[in-house]
Structure formats: C-alpha cells, structure tokens
Amino acid sequence: MIELDHVTVRFQDRIILDDISISLTEHRIGVIGDNGSGKSTFARLLNGLLLPDQGDVTVNDFDTRADGKMVRSQVGFLFQNPDNQIVMPTVAEDLALGLKPLNLSKDEQAHRVTDVLERFALAHLVDRSAHLLSGGEKQLVALAGVMVTEPDILICDEPTTLLDRRNATHVMRLIADLPCQVIVVTHHVEHLNDFDRVLVIGNGRVSHDGPPQDTIPQYLETLA
C-alpha cells in the first residue's frame, strides 16, 4: 500500500504538487491529467526517485526518504521511453542485469529470466540486440526487465505514449493483467476503463478520484 501524507513538491518557485494526501490500495490505478499537470512527478514520488519538499510518502510502511532503497526493492518503475531503460546490448543480458542487485544464484537468475521471457512471449528475442527491436518489443523487454525482479508494485509512466495503437493495447493488457499492484500514468484514457480507480491530476492537486466510469467522463468534460 502506498500513502501520501500532505505531500508538496516545488520546482524553483513553482508548486508542482500541492498538499496531496491519498492512500493507494486498489489493484489497478490509473493517473491522468494534462501535460505539465504533475502526473510524472506524482509517479516518481511513489518509488522515491523524487522526494517531496514537504510531507511523506510511504510504501508498505517504508518511508521513501528514509528507506528509499527498500522502497525501490518493492516498487518497479516502467519509463515512457524503453531506450532509456534498457541498458545492456541483448535482451537476455538486460533481463539478467536487473537481478544483479538481488544477489541470486546463477541458477535462480537463469530460471527467472527464462520464466519472464516465456510469460511475456519474448523467448524468440532472447539473443537479439535489444535496441534494434521494434518499439512495442522494446517496451515489452523493458517491462520484463522490471517484472523479473518480482516487485510488489509496478509504476508505469506513460508506457504507451511512443507505441502505435496495436502495441499500446497489447502492452496495456499485459500490464493490467499483472498480479501485482499497478499504477499507470497515461494520456490514453481508453486503456483505463477496466481499472479499479482513476485519479485526475490538475493544477498540482487530485481534482477527481474514483472509478473510471465517473472520473474519465469528468476529465474529458474539462477538455471540452
């Protein structure tokens, strides 16, 4: 469970997020809002990549400020651009890289890599150069690279922005079906229809909060 307690984030003189208090307990949570509304800042707070200027963020009772490493061991993060997330040359090497900090045995590493490759239907790409794959394949590799560490929570920051409609739908379906808690920041509101809860961020605050059937139409109304 993630909790934000009176969280404020500033950048120079500008307030990006303003005194947000919220508990995130649902299995699948969507976060939407305009460009510059603070969605990505919100996402980066949740695994301690960014620390609040005021207030606290706790994940499973670990404070992101005091226990950032512990938080990140439980919270995976999927970036918008997979090229920024994939580090090693081949798919297999990149997946194995994510396991290095866990100090697992070679056998356990190999088992986890094989398992995640099969789960995401990437086994045929195992020795391919990760950066020469298609956009959709790269995002799947990036997702597999996070999920191989078996996090309790997955944060996705606009994971489908660079993908075509077919790949975006495929990636979002995989993300939505994950057993762990999933928090997805996106502009593609149509992917959140089956989610349990959707937050709308606007002017640094959570302007709407509730089931997608309520919040998405409310958000779309503000765009009209």
Binding site: N47, L49, S73, V87, P89, P101, S129
Partner: protein, 204 residues
C-alpha cells in the same frame, strides 16, 4: 538508438570462455611486438581474418566494417613510416595494427558484454580489501563500452537535425546540443539504474 556490439552465434569462438579469449588476445598482441618479417605477419593476419569470417561465422562484411574506420589512420601511419623508414616497415606496421584490430573485433563481436564484465570483476577481486567493489567496476566498464555507440548516434541525430535546417557544415554548433543531449541521457539513465535497484548493490 543504442546499438550493442555482440553478435549472437553458436560457433566455437562464441562458446570459448571470455577469459580465454582475452588471454589469447593479449598473447597475440605480445606476439605481434616480437614477430619479425612480413610473411609471418601476413600469415597471422590471414589466419585471424579466416577465424573471424569462417570459424566465428561473423562474415566479411562485419570484418570490413571493423576495418573501415581504421583506413585513414593506416594511410597516415603508412605515409609516416615510408617517410621515416621504408615501405617494408610501413607494411609491417599496417599488418600489426590490422591484426590487433581484427582480434579485438573478434573478441568483441563474439563475447557478451556481461561475460566480459564477469572477467573484469574477477580480475578486480584482489582490490576488494581496499574498498573497491569488483562488480561495480566491471559494470562501469561494461556500461562505458556499451554507451560509446550511443554518443555517436546522438552526434548523428544532431547533425541530421542541423542539416535538415540548412546547417550543412556547422560542426562546432553541434557541440552544445550533443553535450546537452548526452548529459540528459546520462540523467535519465541514472534514474533508470536507480529504479532497477543499482543503488542497493553491495549494500544488502
């Protein structure tokens, strides 16, 4: 786009351990210093070329791509050697350099970066009592090797943008955008590494 150097394959060379390949590479480098005469050097170059193209199955095209960037330097070195010594000396130096570059390319193309990093980590093990983390050193070196092509790609992208805007020969003007982009990429990469748990490496 960041392009890796390893070319997957199942040849004998691919299956040899990274440590042995590095030892052989250093041995060839040492032999090249002491090997005298154009015929032995030529045989060595042909042998390395054969292993590269046929035994490792990496192909003549890849051998050419490894050699092409060297041509300008070979021409300069050959001209210098002819000027200060003679033609035979020039050919000898060219053979030595080509043999070294082809050997290095063979090892690079046939060895996973992670296997190479494991060897480096083992070599750094004696430094652990001094507070050096062998895994971190190996990862740093692997990441550096890995990102060299990324910098070239960034330069190409910036030059493309400038050419599209009519700045055909603005080489100096490319410096700032390239630097800005590389620093930006480094920033994002460091976030990605932290998100993937690299800040807790060796601390658990």
């Amino acid at each position: 786009m960041i392009v890796g150097l390893y070319m997957p394959g199942d040849s004998t060379i691919h299956n040899v351990s990274a440590a042995l390949k590095l030892i052989v590479m250093f041995a060839i480098g040492t032999v090249l210093v002491f090997l005298d005469g154009l015929v032995p050097l030529a045989i060595l170059v042909i042998g390395i070329g054969f292993v590269f193209t046929s035994v490792a199955g990496l192909g003549a095209g890849r051998l050419w791509s490894a050699t092409r960037p060297l041509l300008i330097w070979l021409a300069i070195i050959a001209a210098t050697q002819i000027w200060i010594a003679d033609g035979e000396a020039a050919i000898g130096v060219i053979f030595r350099l080509v043999a070294l570059v082809w050997t290095a390319a063979l090892v690079t193309f046939s060895t996973r970066l992670t296997d190479m990093a494991d060897v480096i980590a083992r070599l750094c093990l004696p430094l652990r009592p001094l507070g050096v983390s062998p895994d971190r050193v190996a990862f740093l070196i692997a990441l550096t090797i890995r990102l060299i092509p990324a910098v070239f790609e960034t330069v190409r992208e910036v030059r493309d943008v400038q050419r599209a805007r009519g700045l055909e020969r603005a080489y100096l003007a490319a410096f700032v955008p390239v630097l800005t982009r590389v620093l930006g990429q480094a920033d994002v990469l460091s976030d990605a590494l932290v998100a993937r748990g690299f800040d807790r490496w060796d601390t658990q």
